[in-house]
Symmetry: C3
Subunit: 217 residues, 3 copies
Amino acid sequence: MFSSYPHYDTVATGLALAIEIIGTLAFALTGIVIAARKRLDIVGVSMVCGLSAFGGGTLRDILLDRRPFFWVEHHQWLWVILALCVIAMIFFRSKDIELTEKMIQVPDALGLALFTISGTQIALVTGSPLLIAVLMGVMTAIFGGVLRDIACNEIPQAFTDHRPYAVIAFMGSWVYIGMEHWFMNEWLSSLIAFSTIVILRLFAIQFNIVIPSWMRK
Amino acid sequence: MFSSYPHYDTVATGLALAIEIIGTLAFALTGIVIAARKRLDIVGVSMVCGLSAFGGGTLRDILLDRRPFFWVEHHQWLWVILALCVIAMIFFRSKDIELTEKMIQVPDALGLALFTISGTQIALVTGSPLLIAVLMGVMTAIFGGVLRDIACNEIPQAFTDHRPYAVIAFMGSWVYIGMEHWFMNEWLSSLIAFSTIVILRLFAIQFNIVIPSWMRK
Amino acid sequence: MFSSYPHYDTVATGLALAIEIIGTLAFALTGIVIAARKRLDIVGVSMVCGLSAFGGGTLRDILLDRRPFFWVEHHQWLWVILALCVIAMIFFRSKDIELTEKMIQVPDALGLALFTISGTQIALVTGSPLLIAVLMGVMTAIFGGVLRDIACNEIPQAFTDHRPYAVIAFMGSWVYIGMEHWFMNEWLSSLIAFSTIVILRLFAIQFNIVIPSWMRK
């Protein structure tokens, strides 16, 4: 996470923390949306919401054998998730579902970028080979959603919707690694890779881009 | 587990061991029931049955980075599970499914209480914050069933049936923590929290109680 | 893996390496087949393909707390998987699906035998009890497929198709343990158990054998 670099100046730290909060909330909201569609109860909503927000990072940490998990170290986040779920169950209506989906596209792109880069960084720090670090970055970003969809008995959206989401995370993670190799500066590399992912993602949404599919039937 | 405290007197230890056996068998039987409905083969029945019985504790131990797992340390249990599955496949008929579901409600409530409290205790011993300990208690109790349902291609019952099950585990786990803070006595706190969970659960079944749902469509 | 025993003569090592490559590719191809049926996108195809090939060993290693994973240590395999997926998406047609399923039966049997025995060996080396070692062997062989099917929103084929697959792995793993106890020779035991599994599996396919099912409705 950006927020754990004490030598950043205060503005950058504050900005990074804000992005982290926005990204986590956006990921949590994607869980609320599918939980609302499936009419889950408060237990299901909370678990699916928590999976969306923290599942990717938790899986990465299990694979890298890292502890404590983010949600154990910052367990006050769990109260935020729980409150979000209760509020959603009280105030959410059908028309809010689509509105939420539309509104979270930008925050979700920020989360995609942040979690990809932080996942890549964490894997590099633990000495992973480059390709593994990229894979860990992608998994941090997408496996919250994958676990969310599996728990809701759906084929994961990231596996089947032919939209560039994980693909952009994959490219952005390589951009980060290339920049870091080139500039030897973690902060600048993060910034460039972060912007690349956000811009590509918003571009893909705006122009409704799909990735190549099976060539023949 | 209660049974691992050598300083308990023999009656309490015997009672706790009995509850552990009853609870584990009840959880295993919930796996048999769904496996029978789905007409799984012996491999599927055994795996789903084992997931139901040991999945929650195993997930908790992976998250807390504890080894060995219960079913590795007490691997004779795996033969019990396997025998149970073979017997079920030979003698189980459709009408037995509903009968079993009705008969395991009380043992299942005992298992819910036992696994919640033992999960909470184990998490506290490893130094988890209170909320994390509660979450680990709840996950120990419900994630066997969650993994069982996911393996059978269903939305987990604990996420969607609007019955107080995980919610009671959540409350009971806080009762345990409160009592332990108050009385400074693990044994007495366990007893009170255990009774609370069992009574609330049987009460909820008896009076067909549902938890609040989405307020609006 | 056989290939990690440096004292084997070169022919045996080469043979074992060849089997490892063939087995891993066969497991990967089962992922391609189901991903093609579900029309997944490149992300889904790659992930499902990777799960099929490496999921069983990864789960075993998480349960045994072993690191690094096979695919982290040999990450060039990930490029092979990715290339395989891209090629499949370009050239695969509907009629190729059934052809592939038929063609991979023999390689898949080799993979079944290899992963069962290597899983059993690895669990024994880490000091697991015999039954746990057998279970780890079986899980190494079948849980790639189980995770593949869960990710594709299907009941795992290994749980429901009433074909002897995991059952043969179970028997073969015991054969390995018995032979090793008898002959005190890892190489000879591996060879006998490997042949047993492959022969039983091909026999079962050839004669369309099913395992006993639920006795009554």
